[in-house]
């Protein structure tokens, strides 16, 4: 078992990881930038170390400063949270070299899944359906012509070293493709230091469905799926579990294929395998694997009762998987919404500031994951996530009613937040019927965003 954990992150995820470690009896070390001196994660950790100026590259992305903090405090392990260094194979390697346990998969697994072409090949080899397209990097336009016969148009040109929605171009015709291909190669080289490209068919009106997995390097289990089809600019805003769109047969195939891939790459820790699901053809396709804990992990915890962060810490401490597949069952329905410091009526303009008063929702089936407290000043240097409101109910309908109830209880005074977006979505016929896809929200916002005016208390 780990003895002392350094959490190399900030905000709500640092708070979440520190809580999980403390619940397991592991001592905790927070790190913080000059802008985060007053943060909740600094207050609740056993120790805290300043690692530099506000700019992330000088603090939360500063590998040398983080390893020095671990050495000085005697931490035997580092949890990267999500974002920052979480999917940085070089950081995982540097931890190993320093004799510190990196809570997550091996550097090799991070590297393989971070290379989108290698990940696609690994998925294909494990018998996981992939989006029709190239089976590797596409050398030139000549090579691309053969692949276009299979994919048709529109087609995506993607950077092999990209990810998270970056480095993607869509071509609607051969002429557009021939113009876009060399531009995409030049852009990928400039942005990622690697001009390699691959191609994928555009699956229109698809749902985003992802499977939560846990592995110990040998064995692997799944904790069922989440649906995250409500997205804005490829960022998820509302996530739920299980997906109402899947039949039991498709759910089983999807989850089994995720377990096969997790085993095939010798994955260790908590991870997520992302798929597109096409309602019309009832088919799913692998997109990518995220080799870290995800923002939306609590919805899975709510329906399975598994503490994913705690399981990740146990696995990192050398324990084999405690859970057998038959131990993991779904109960009820859970929904998470991301309360961001943004004004949804003004194109989601960021709104950092001071929380003048805070009223937190509660009661049965409600979880509020946040670093906020009354008087806290949200710094402008990092992302805008303030809180995740997670609700659980016996059915999806009950969960939505509970979401509305909990949102109305929530008051974050002094800031503008995305709360009005979720109150409106929870009352929308398409959302209530779960008749959505990954481009649905952007279309809906064009006609609805002006009405999403946040209440702003002085």
């Amino acid at each position: 078992m780990l003895k002392k954990l350094l959490v190399a992150n900030r905000g709500e995820i640092a708070v979440r990881v520190i809580r999980a470690a403390k619940d397991l009896g592991i001592a905790t070390v927070a790190v913080y930038s000059d802008a985060d001196r007053d943060s909740l994660h600094v207050q609740i950790a056993d120790e805290a170390v300043n690692i530099g100026p506000p700019a992330a590259k000088q603090s939360y992305l500063n590998v040398a400063a983080i390893l020095k903090a671990a050495e000085e405090t005697g931490a035997d392990s580092i949890h990267p949270g999500y974002g920052f260094l979480a999917e940085n194979a070089g950081f995982a390697e540097a931890c190993a070299t320093a004799g510190i346990v990196f809570v997550g998969p091996s550097a090799e697994a991070i590297r393989m899944m971070g290379d989108k072409v290698a990940a696609r090949s690994a998925a294909h080899a494990a018998g996981v359906p992939v989006v029709p397209g190239s089976m590797g990097r596409v050398a030139d336009i000549e090579a691309a012509r053969h692949i276009l016969i299979e994919t048709g148009f529109p087609v995506m040109i993607k950077a092999a070293a990209g990810g998270g929605g970056r480095g993607i171009r869509i071509a609607n015709s051969l002429a557009e493709f021939e113009a876009a291909f060399p531009q995409a190669a030049a852009e990928a080289l400039a942005a990622f230091g690697d001009g390699g490209l691959y191609m994928e068919k555009v699956v229109s009106r698809a749902r985003h469905i992802e499977v939560q997995v846990l592995g110990d390097g040998q064995d692997a289990v799944h904790c069922f799926e989440r649906e995250c089809s409500l997205q804005r600019r490829r960022q998820k805003v509302w996530e739920e579990a299980p997906s109402r769109a899947l039949s039991d047969r498709v759910r089983d195939e999807l989850c089994q294929s995720a377990v096969r891939l997790t085993r095939a790459v010798g994955y260790s820790g908590a991870g997520t395998i992302e798929f597109l699901y096409d309602d019309a053809s009832d088919k799913f396709f692998f997109i990518e694997m995220n080799t870290r804990i995800q923002v939306e992990h609590p919805v899975t915890e709510m329906i399975t009762g598994v503490d994913l962060v705690a399981e990740g810490l146990r696995i990192a401490g050398g324990e084999p998987l405690r859970l057998k597949q038959r131990d993991i069952a779904v109960r009820g329905h859970a929904i998470e919404v991301r309360l961001n410091a943004e004004d949804p009526s003004r194109d989601f303009a960021p709104f950092p500031g001071t929380v003048s008063a805070l009223r937190v929702p509660g009661g049965p089936g409600v979880r509020f994951e946040s670093m906020l407290y009354s008087g806290y000043t949200v710094p402008p240097f990092y992302d805008s996530l303030l809180a995740k409101l997670v609700v659980h109910g016996e059915t999806r309908e009950a969960a939505i009613r509970r979401l509305v109830r909990a949102l109305k209880e929530t008051r974050i005074e002094g800031l503008r937040t995305t709360k009005p977006l979720f109150l409106a979505l929870a009352d929308d016929p398409d959302v209530l019927a779960n008749d959505v896809h990954t481009r649905w929200l952007e279309g809906w916002l064009e006609t609805h965003s002006a009405r999403l005016v946040p209440e702003l208390e002085p």
Binding site: A35, P53, P54, A55, A341, E342, A349, P350, P352, P379, P380, F381, Y382, D383, S384
Partner: protein, 77 residues
């Protein structure tokens, strides 16, 4: 003399990208509406436009420096 203030808290950038020249060099003249820099707030970028005209701009803030709303970014004559 007039001051150009930051409308937002965040990180101040003098150029649109690291490999691009600055919007304004020290000593340049400024017209109302000229972009003098960017402020990055929570991972989104906002142009800072001059609300006064003047000559001989002098920056009080370095590239990539954290600023608060109302901080003096530059002065003009």
């Amino acid at each position: 003399m007039a001051q150009l203030l930051s409308p937002l808290p965040g990180t101040f950038y003098r150029a649109s990208a690291p490999d691009k020249p600055p919007f304004k060099a020290d000593g340049d003249a400024v017209a109302v509406g000229d972009v003098i820099g960017l402020i990055e707030v929570m991972k989104s970028f906002h142009e800072v436009k001059a609300d006064v005209a003047g000559s001989n701009i002098r920056f009080a803030c370095d590239n990539e420096e954290p600023v608060m709303a109302g901080a003096v970014l530059a002065e003009v004559d």
